[in-house]
């Protein structure tokens, strides 16, 4: 096995350990399953806030404004509610427990530790939105994983009331199902009671101040972002889907980051983050796929060798939508020392150019819509920040092209030479 090959096995083990860690997996899969409704809300944020006076007047006059503002308020602003159920569900199914009831119990647990108040009228009970959106996400994650794991543990170890023989099994089962719920109520009441004794007042304030906000702000730094991008490229070099491995860890943080931008956008205030993780990655860094391979896809189309030209035709359309496996494995970029440098440099270069453009104000910070994978270039940019962002994407396409050009040129030359030799040695194309 080649040196890269041996290295690859080691990196594979490492990647698998992260991505297939059952807790990491539950959190990222759980979050992934609530993203569609979050995106639904985000699209309505756009519909609700498009800044054209005539359009806004139309919305106001027809009374539609009252409707268009509803979806964001019950999706994005209630993210934690959905997430706590989904993550607990996924955690319990990872540990082969009763996933649905784990989800329900986790939702209840989350609400127990969330402050409940009385409105100014002195009688109406109310649950404030304060901790139910992105701000409550980390508590939702902790509660979901804890309850999901605990409830499966209680049932699999048999820590519940056993029924005498002759009692229908279903009765024992329904009583057994009570145990996790009861344990969760007591545990969460203890948590709530203890945090009321601290200056923080509740667990949300504590986790947000000490864990979530520092992590989210750290990940919003330019250097933290570039390290993440570098790690993804390096994993891809070893033929591992670096994006999904790194995302499984970064997703909770990146979701928090971009939703804070989205909330500010909805409210019409200044967007807090210049580099909103997930959005920045989809719109700028992963232009044409991880490795910012869009420029390479264009170069392939114009290749002199038959081999690369064929690949170019195959790769260009998926490439525009951010799918670049044909390029990764067809050129290949995987385990190809000749292209390691541009594979690492291109995404860093486009990210840095985009960061500079954002910092000096040539483009607005991205809104944090979170366009899904498969959204074509330019459309993704337009949705996330308007036409200026779409133009920046065009500029980045050229940046990617320039980075890949010298490296690809020599590869293509070599391929032309090999193809020429093959034709001279017999002339039968099928023998190639």
């Amino acid at each position: 096995m080649s040196k890269e090959g041996t290295m690859r096995v080691k990196v594979q083990k490492f990647a698998s350990a992260i991505q297939k860690n059952r807790y990491v997996n539950s959190v990222s899969n759980g979050l992934a399953s609530v993203l569609p409704i979050i995106l639904g809300g985000a699209i309505f944020t756009l519909i609700d806030t498009i800044n054209i006076p005539a359009y806004q007047t139309f919305l106001e006059n027809t009374g539609l404004k009252a409707l268009t503002s509803i979806p964001p308020a019950i999706t994005i602003d209630l993210l934690a509610i959905y997430a706590v159920f989904a993550i607990a569900y996924k955690t319990a199914s990872q540990f082969k427990g009763d996933s649905f009831s784990a989800g329900v119990v986790a939702l209840m647990s989350f609400l127990i530790v969330t402050p409940l108040g009385i409105l100014d009228d002195g009688e109406t009970m109310a649950l404030s939105y304060e901790w139910l959106g992105a701000t409550g996400l980390f508590v939702a994650i902790f509660v979901a994983v804890l309850v999901g794991r605990l409830s499966t543990l209680i049932l699999s170890k048999g820590y519940y009331i056993k029924m005498p023989k002759g009692v229908p099994p279903t009765i024992e089962k329904s009583f057994a199902a009570l145990t996790p719920a009861f344990a969760a109520i007591i545990l969460m009441l203890i948590v709530r009671g203890l945090f009321e004794l601290t200056p923080y007042g509740d667990v949300h304030e504590f986790i947000y101040t000490l864990v979530q906000a520092p992590l989210v702000n750290l990940s919003g730094n330019w250097w933290a972002y570039l390290i993440v991008v570098f790690a993804m490229s390096l994993l891809w070099f070893f033929g591992i889907h670096g994006t999904i491995v790194v995302m499984s860890v970064m997703m909770p943080i990146w979701v928090g980051l971009r939703l804070e931008n989205l909330a500010a956008y909805q409210a019409g205030t200044e967007l807090p983050h210049m580099i909103p993780g997930g959005s920045f990655f989809m719109v700028y860094t992963a232009l044409g796929g991880t490795g910012a391979t869009v420029g390479l896809a264009v170069l392939l189309l114009r290749a002199k060798s038959k081999r690369y030209k064929t690949l170019g035709k195959l790769a260009i359309v998926p490439g525009i939508t951010g799918i670049n496996e044909p390029i990764m494995f067809g050129v290949p970029l995987v385990l190809n020392m000749k292209l390691l440098l541009p594979l690492i440099l291109a995404p860093l270069a486009v990210s840095i150019v985009a960061m500079i453009a954002t910092f000096v104000g040539l483009v607005p910070p991205l809104r944090g819509i979170g366009v899904p994978l498969g959204t074509p270039i330019f459309i993704s940019g337009f949705l996330e920040g308007g036409w200026r962002v779409a133009i920046l994407q065009a500029v980045l396409l050229v940046v990617s092209l320039v980075v890949y050009y010298p490296f690809f040129k020599s590869l293509d030359k070599e391929a032309v030479r090999v193809e020429g030799e093959d034709e001279n040695n017999g002339g039968d194309k099928k023998a190639v």
Binding site: H241, P318, P326, M328, F329
Partner: protein, 101 residues
Amino acid sequence: MTKRILLACAGGFSTSMLVEKMKEAAASQGEDVFIDACSEGKISENLPTDVILLGPQMGHIEGEVKQLVNNEVPVATIDMMDYGMMNGEKVLTVALDLIND
């Protein structure tokens, strides 16, 4: 009986491209197969199947997928070059060979 082939990658995007190519190859060879693609997280929802093929970028989870199906179904990782060039014919042959073994 129809042979069932399941391809899995990260999001099921690129494997779905290969599935189309494999279907074309199967049609021209007159093979009776059902071929589908999914994301790796949804494998268990797409069972039963006669063989599971992973995109090479997901090769690092081959062991976990084998565990998932209790080694009752052959699991393999698709060759990188075949994957990159979307060689449906070759991958179909590999899949059918795995089923027949």
